[in-house]
């Protein structure tokens, strides 16, 4: 057993994910406080050079194999379970993404380690790790500890500053022997999003709609407002799922991360997955019929109202 803090590195196309840097910065602080090492778990093929980007870690455990060239849940699982079982770290941190969910829950069950999901803070006190997580679409915060004093947390993006983890350096690189990989899941190909008519990451004004829009015909209302503001229409996930707007307009965890000068959140409740993608906007104004909607927690200004009433009134003023 150790007081090390492990971080699973997510990377693609030779770049480490921002969310991983967020975890690495925090892991370093926690490891120093606990008297252990911050350890980056780097799996892939031909990825050793990435370790120079992981300077926030004191040690990189590097597992390389042709079968790890692309993430698959089963191959990662077969590498990570023995590492975590043998080294018994204090904490394992993973991002709350498809990769993190697959890996963390699998590790939890296979290694008998408790798992706290949707973490927004990870701290230490005399009793060990204390995790704050958000449940019920961000409407409830929960503070938990691990019964056995050690465990795993999946952390939502934006919980910690990425800068603290973006340290160049030369951590100790320790190669891990890769034995037989579980090949029951095979990577076929990566599908990249088709370029849309509008790149919402480059727009300075986004008029963003959620379920509160009600029906597809109402999209025209927000398009008129966006035109009046010289901006573009974006959306939360349900609107893209319904096919009312193209996927390229989706803001959030599985969509795009945006940082416009103005983000009008209309009928968007503000699930954590959405907030991840837009909380960095300069000015956020939210209109929602639910006074308790979490969107009001990140908005600068808010109004409890029906967007279908407010939008035409606002459009009239902005075109006036």
């Amino acid at each position: 057993m150790s007081n090390d803090v492990f971080v699973l590195v997510e990377h693609r196309d030779g770049a480490v994910a921002d969310a991983t840097f967020e975890l690495l910065g925090r892991a370093r602080q926690l490891a120093v406080a606990a008297g252990g090492e911050a350890v980056a778990l780097l799996l892939g093929s031909g990825v050793e050079a990435l370790s120079s980007k992981l300077g926030a870690a004191q040690r990189v455990l590097l597992a390389e194999d042709a079968g790890l060239a692309e993430f698959t849940p089963s191959a990662y699982q077969s590498v990570l379970v023995p590492i975590v079982q043998e080294r018994a770290p204090l904490l394992v941190l993973a991002t709350n993404t498809g990769v993190g969910m697959d890996v963390a829950a699998g590790l939890s069950m296979a290694c008998g380690l408790a798992l706290a999901a949707y973490a927004t803070d990870v701290a230490l006190d005399d009793g060990g790790p204390v995790i704050t997580t958000q449940l019920y679409a961000g409407k409830v915060n929960v503070r938990v500890r691990f019964r056995d004093g050690r465990g795993i947390a999946t952390v939502v993006a934006g919980a910690f500053p990425a800068e603290a983890g973006q340290l160049a350096g030369s951590p100790i690189v320790e190669r891990v022997t890769v034995s037989a990989l579980d090949g029951r899941i095979r990577f076929r190909r990566l599908l990249r999003p088709e370029a849309g008519d509008v790149d919402i990451t480059r727009e300075s004004v986004l008029v963003s709609v959620g379920r509160g829009i009600g029906e597809a015909d109402n999209i025209a209302l927000v398009e008129a407002l966006a035109a009046a503001l010289g901006g573009a229409v974006s959306s939360s996930r349900p609107i893209a799922d319904a096919g009312w707007l193209p996927r390229t307009r989706q803001v959030g965890k599985s969509g795009l991360r945006v940082k416009p000068r103005l983000y009008l959140a209309l009928g968007i409740s503000g699930a954590p997955e959405h907030l991840e993608g837009m909380r960095g906007a300069d000015l956020i104004i939210a209109i929602n019929t639910d006074a308790r909607a979490p969107i009001f927690g990140v908005a600068h200004y808010g109004a409890v109202a029906d967007l279908l009433d407010v939008v035409p009134a606002l459009t009239k003023r902005m075109t006036g």
């Binding site: 498809g98 990769v99 697959d102 829950a105 679409a137 503070r143 999003p193 969509g255």
Partner: protein
């Protein structure tokens, strides 16, 4: 080909949540419940696969004493069989749920197990990967676009990442998938049909034991002060629109001034 869908009820977030007196749980007395949104997508995907492959669809829910309507709705939508699993005073944590489903699936044939990628209350992680680990099966989370091979031995699935990136995987069956969304919106089942089935349905039941818990100790639950962030604008629709327009104009946005 046997498809199994795992479903559960979660608190309806349209209603106000309150914390129990001990500060460690929701005040549950007045909560109303509905089927977890992502489980609905998992069921719809299973029914779509049934339509194209002739597979059977069996729906499982942990028996918390109030899942008849949930299971009857599954039947009304086109599931072939519904089964109550175990007996629980209330919805257990995800680890316990995964162990209970794992025990039940020793008796229920399953080539592909589908459930929601997440639920709003899965504090200790998502059931799909926990169940897969308990059963020693492969699993993929955040899945869309499930396809079954003609020989029924593999499935192809898409896994979504940030920025609209998607990986396509081929997965050996049996496997467990955490479904993000369905290709069609979940189908509607007439309430009258559900009510009728609630009386007549043949609910299968599997007794299971699931112990060990989540290994988490909940110290405190709290409702974040959401209005702490935004400065709230009150008044009539016209007054709200006027204030928002002023805020926007103050920043030089609109009227051609934004780019």
């Amino acid at each position: 080909m046997d498809l199994v869908v795992l479903l559960k009820l979660v608190p309806d977030l349209a209603e106000e949540l309150e914390i129990a007196a001990d500060g460690r749980d929701l005040a549950r007395d007045w909560l109303s419940y509905l089927t977890s949104e992502w489980d609905e997508y998992a069921l719809e995907e299973a029914l779509q696969l049934k339509a194209t492959s002739g597979a059977t669809v069996t729906c499982l829910a942990l028996d918390t004493g109030s899942v008849e309507e949930l299971l009857a709705t599954c039947l009304a939508r086109g599931a072939d069989r519904v089964v109550k699993v175990g007996s629980f005073e209330r919805a257990p944590d995800s680890h316990t749920a995964a162990r209970a489903f794992a025990a039940a699936l020793k008796e229920i044939p399953a080539d592909l197990i589908l459930t929601g990628v997440q639920a709003i209350d899965d504090l200790d992680g998502q059931v799909a990967p926990l169940l897969a680990a308990a059963l020693g099966l492969p699993h993929v989370s955040v899945v869309t676009h499930i396809g079954l091979a003609g020989d029924g031995r593999t499935a192809t699935v898409n896994q979504e990442y940030a920025g609209g990136l998607v990986a396509e995987f081929e997965v050996d069956l049996p496997a467990v998938l955490g479904v993000q969304t369905s290709r069609e919106a979940p189908r509607y089942a007439p309430v009258s049909r559900v009510r009728q089935l609630m009386k007549t349905a043949d609910y299968g039941a599997v007794a299971v034991t699931a112990e060990g818990g989540s290994g988490l100790l909940v110290e405190a639950m709290s409702i974040p002060e959401v209005t702490g962030g935004a400065e709230m604008i009150s008044g009539t629709v016209e007054q709200i629109a006027e204030r928002v327009a002023t805020l926007i104009r103050e920043r030089g946005i609109g009227l051609g001034g934004s780019r």
